[in-house]
Symmetry: C2
Subunit: 236 residues, 2 copies
């Protein structure tokens, strides 16, 4: 077998070092009524009036994942939030400035938390299901991330990142209904979730509500790990 | 808000068009005993004696996903196989030739199918759990894809891509045991899987085996879609 060294290899592929890599963050939030996504007004004339995901070009001196966290931090002031790489989009003509492939991350945040941290007129929370058009291929990226979120929500307790630390079962149901875009039976939802044994009763009730105060719960991650094993179709 | 056009934007980011993007295919196969991965001997002097994933640089004139299918086709002769983008790896120093980020795809194939299609001395099926070192960051990529495979296997019927069209329950158990690296109780596995109602009894028995011939099954994808709804933790 013929072996070559890096220099020969580099020479062979040098025309390929002409791509830019960007990261785009799909930052989902929940306001107890609807699933929202944080968007920015595009600053490119070609996309004037369109909204885009919060993204930027990866710098030559930073890791890909670092770039994603930098974008999130720069745009929202947030650090230490749930963030996951979802998919890379690399269609030929997806960016008018040249060959740019983009790595999409999604982040699930408590919507009030973001609002408090940074006031920025160019950023807006949009209701996901009302969004029709976006700049670039960002609608496709949003749709892909939203589909992943729905799948994860029914397989894993990922949705808890979108809720405050203490929540009622009604809050939890609102979250599932908003994200999955379905109406669920209140009693069945309650019964099912309590039977899953992943919620911890805090022995506290809501305060300052006009209706009868509901019990507050938190999610118990340890219980979840045990529980997960029982979900597995093959039973170990 | 200040808007700019593409040319101004391009000027701003022109130094960023210096990245190469590659695809790496983690091609998993199963030989009824062990989970295997198809590797190639590295042709770079720096990595002589090391094995690497089947990959290549994305061309300037092809979509990212096209590049992945091209690599698979060029290396194995295979088309139309299950392939899924898993994760993009973009650490700073991951490639000695410069800034190369790589998009990892995994593919699940019937191992005999590949062997028949293409004979290539540089390609070898390696037992996944025996692999210690690989070229570049390919061990990390393999580990990531293997973890994803394990997760998918217990959440979805993805493993069926690794089996022939007709299989026995013992074959299926072998697959689960090999991938998850566990020993499962034969009777419980059988009972559990039959109760899942996703297998279709073909009313055929194995031929040319020395032991008592076992029944052959195929997977019923329609039943699975129904079944999936019942797996969901929240029951709709």
């Amino acid at each position: 077998m013929h072996t070559k060294n890096i220099h020969a290899h580099l020479d062979e592929i040098k025309d390929c070092f002409q791509t830019a890599v960007s990261v785009d963050c799909v930052i989902f939030g929940f306001d107890n009524t609807a699933l929202k996504v944080l968007l920015i007004e595009s600053d490119l004339k070609e996309y004037k009036g369109s909204w885009s995901l919060l993204g930027n070009i990866m710098r030559p001196d930073e890791d890909l994942d670092e770039a994603a966290y930098r974008v999130l931090r720069e745009r929202t002031g947030l650090e230490d939030v749930y963030m996951e790489q979802i998919q890379t989009f690399g269609a030929l003509k997806r960016h008018p400035a040249g060959r740019v492939i983009t790595v999409a991350y999604y982040s699930l945040v408590n919507i009030e938390h973001v609002a408090l941290k940074k006031h920025n007129n160019e950023l807006h929370w949009h209701t996901v299901k009302d969004i029709q058009h976006m700049a670039f291929d960002h609608k496709q990226i949003l749709d892909t991330c939203y589909e992943r979120l729905k799948r994860q929500l029914i397989e894993q307790p990922i949705g808890f990142n979108l809720l405050p630390g203490k929540f009622t079962i009604r809050d939890l149901q609102n979250l599932y209904e908003a994200i999955l875009d379905v109406k669920l039976d209140r009693r069945n939802f309650r019964k099912k979730f309590l039977s899953l044994n992943v919620l911890e009763d805090l022995n506290e009730a809501q305060e300052a509500v006009s209706h009868r105060p509901a019990k507050l719960y938190k999610f118990n991650f340890e219980k979840h790990e045990l529980q997960k094993k029982r979900f597995l179709g093959i039973g170990f």
